[in-house]
């Protein structure tokens, strides 16, 4: 299954992906898809195209929306990066621990650092910020500056 075949397969199955699939270089596939269609594309990629390993989930702060990239890897080294975005006003996301239990840590990291609230995340310790970190501070947001905390402390 070379990159071209995968690309062609995806386009045939989901026609709304017409010009959204790009092969950047050998073994790298980038897909842009909207949040509502993300579920079925992700399911197809994991189940049929056997991308059996989730490397990680990257969260981006893009002005008034949150960008999310799911990095999936298959056994022969091909990497499929599915890019979606959710509005910053209500940053809600479905968990994928059903497919990959290890996604729990990556989703918890996004919840802490970007303030995305992930539905269906199993109960557990906070990662990576300490417990006494103020709940409304999300360090990876562009508008967050590190001295915000110092000002809050010496009020």
């Amino acid at each position: 299954m070379t990159e071209e075949e995968i690309k062609q397969g995806l386009i045939d199955k989901f026609n709304y992906l017409q010009d959204k699939v790009a092969v950047k270089r050998a073994r790298r596939l980038f897909i842009e898809v909207s949040m509502d269609k993300f579920g079925e594309v992700f399911d197809h990629a994991v189940k049929q195209l056997n991308f059996s390993m989730l490397t990680t989930i990257t969260g981006l702060d893009e002005g008034e929306r949150f960008g999310l990239i799911y990095h999936l890897a298959s056994d022969n080294g091909i990497m499929l990066n599915i890019k979606t975005s959710i509005p910053k006003s209500d940053p809600v996301l479905q968990t994928i621990t059903g497919y990959f239990p290890s996604a729990e840590m990556y989703e918890r990291e996004m919840a802490d650092l970007l303030g995305i609230n992930v539905k269906g995340l199993p109960e557990g310790n906070r990662y990576p910020l300490p417990d006494d970190w103020p709940a409304d501070q999300h360090p990876l947001r562009k508008d967050w500056k590190s001295d915000v905390l110092d000002k809050k402390e010496n009020q």
């Binding site: 950047k24 270089r25 073994r27 790298r28 059996s52 390993m53 989730l54 490397t55 990680t56 990257t58 981006l60 990239i69 990095h71 890897a73 056994d75 022969n76 080294g77 990497m79 990066n81 990959f100 239990p101 290890s102 729990e104 840590m105 990556y106 650092l113 557990g124 310790n125 906070r126 990662y127 990576p128 910020l129 300490p130 360090p139 990876l140 590190s146």
Partner: protein, 405 residues
């Protein structure tokens, strides 16, 4: 059987078994571990946020200090992503030198792991021997790159130091010494009764669990998951290297030890190959200060597993976003599974078997005063003043020592 009260014992964040802070809370019944709950994040230093405020050249050194033992892994991974975005054509000789330093770092990291694992099972003699022989590879690295740990050999567009004839002779001499020492350690690890007894049957991770929990690197390869980024997604000069991926079907800590030791032999083979056909030519190409907009994902087979960097550039000289996924984060999930219904005595060796690599944290202790019966936290400075006062009362005055910053 009456419901025995479970005995919750905290291991960490400061504990002799853990070289770096992570906190496991084990629910024990007698000596059997019933449940494990992991608390990470003690070493979170906001590297990803810091990368966004520095230029690409400064980021190379910042990313290199994510982890002490696999510093070259992180810096090569980052530099490859930036070169891909900028479309730089890295000279072949630089790729060979990067592969050489990468394999030397794998040798140094695996020998270090063997010593730490031996210490965890109380076999300090093997620790002393392995760390004595590790000095050979550390000296070679210091000779080549100018530093024993954070080599700083990478720069955007190539490498910063070249290798000349005598250094190649030094490397090959070191490889012969290390090869027969490694062969001896394989014998010890596979034949010494107490070592075999302490390692086999411990920390079981079956093949399906390894795939389901997303284990990477030697931990996965010891459960016969044949995944190795150097072969599947070759980078640097691994495309032209002939080596085979070591897998083992013991699914336990013994298998991981055997996989890591045999990987050492593969590394020696690769280092000799890279030295044999080291191409001539420049070692770096001029890199622009401002990287054009774009994004790239780069993967690297670090000694502990697959290390991934995602870099997004926005045309300025500072990256828009750098995402780092260290191999240990993937293996921590597997530790919880492996520790269930094992003995407490196995906890250190199971945790050490995934070769965790977190990093250091700041110093703060909480002391509750008996008489004033309130808990106050002592910052490093107050701890220092308290100890000076305590010794002054006993006639030894340290206060003349100037206060450190």
């Amino acid at each position: 059987m009456a419901e025995e009260k479970e005995f919750r014992i905290p291991i960490g964040p400061q504990h002799p078994a853990l070289k770096e802070p992570v906190s496991f809370t084990l629910a024990l019944r007698g000596e059997k571990i019933m449940g494990v709950d992991v608390r990470l994040g003690y070493n979170h230093r906001g590297i990803e946020k810091a990368c966004e405020e520095r230029t690409y050249i400064q980021d190379v050194y910042l990313v290199e200090r994510i982890c002490g033992i696999c510093s070259h892994a992180h810096s090569t991974c980052f530099v490859q992503a930036v070169e891909e975005i900028a479309g730089l054509e890295v000279p072949k000789r630089a790729l060979y030198i990067r592969t050489l330093i990468g394999e030397l770092e794998r040798v140094h990291s695996h020998l270090l792991w063997l010593g730490v694992a031996a210490h965890e099972i109380g076999f300090d003699t093997l620790l002393m021997f392995t760390w004595r022989d590790r000095e050979v590879v550390m000296d070679v690295l210091a000779l080549l790159t100018g530093n024993r740990v954070n080599y700083g050999i990478n720069t955007i567009g190539g490498v910063r130091r070249d290798i000349d004839k005598e250094e190649i002779k030094e490397i090959l001499k070191a490889m012969d010494i290390l090869e027969d020492r490694t062969k001896y350690y394989i014998e010890v690890a596979t034949q010494e009764t107490t070592v075999v007894q302490r390692l086999s049957g411990v920390g079981i991770l079956s093949c399906e669990d390894a795939l389901r929990l997303g284990a990477v690197g030697p931990t996965a390869r010891a459960s016969s998951v044949a995944r190795d980024i150097r072969r599947d997604d070759p980078y640097a000069a691994y495309g032209e290297m002939k080596f085979d991926v070591i897998t083992d079907d013991h699914n336990d800590v013994y298998g991981r030890a055997v996989v890591r030791l045999k990987e050492l032999l593969e590394s020696f083979k690769m280092i000799r190959q890279s030295m044999a056909n080291l191409p001539e030519g420049p070692i770096a190409v001029k890199a622009p200060r401002k990287i054009p907009a774009g994004e790239a994902v780069s993967r690297y087979e670090a000694p502990r597993g697959e290390d991934m960097h995602y870099v997004k550039a926005n045309g300025t000289d500072k990256p828009e976003r750098v995402k780092v996924r260290a191999p240990t984060l993937a293996n921590v999930q597997a530790v919880r599974h492996m520790l269930r219904d094992r003995y407490l005595a196995d906890m250190p060796i199971v945790v050490a078997a995934i070769d965790p690599c977190f990093s250091c944290t700041d110093r703060l202790i909480s002391v509750n005063d008996m008489d004033k019966n309130r808990t106050d936290t002592l910052e490093w400075q107050d701890l220092r003043d308290y100890s000076i006062e305590w010794y002054k009362k006993r006639g030894v005055d340290f206060s003349k020592m100037r206060k450190l910053k």
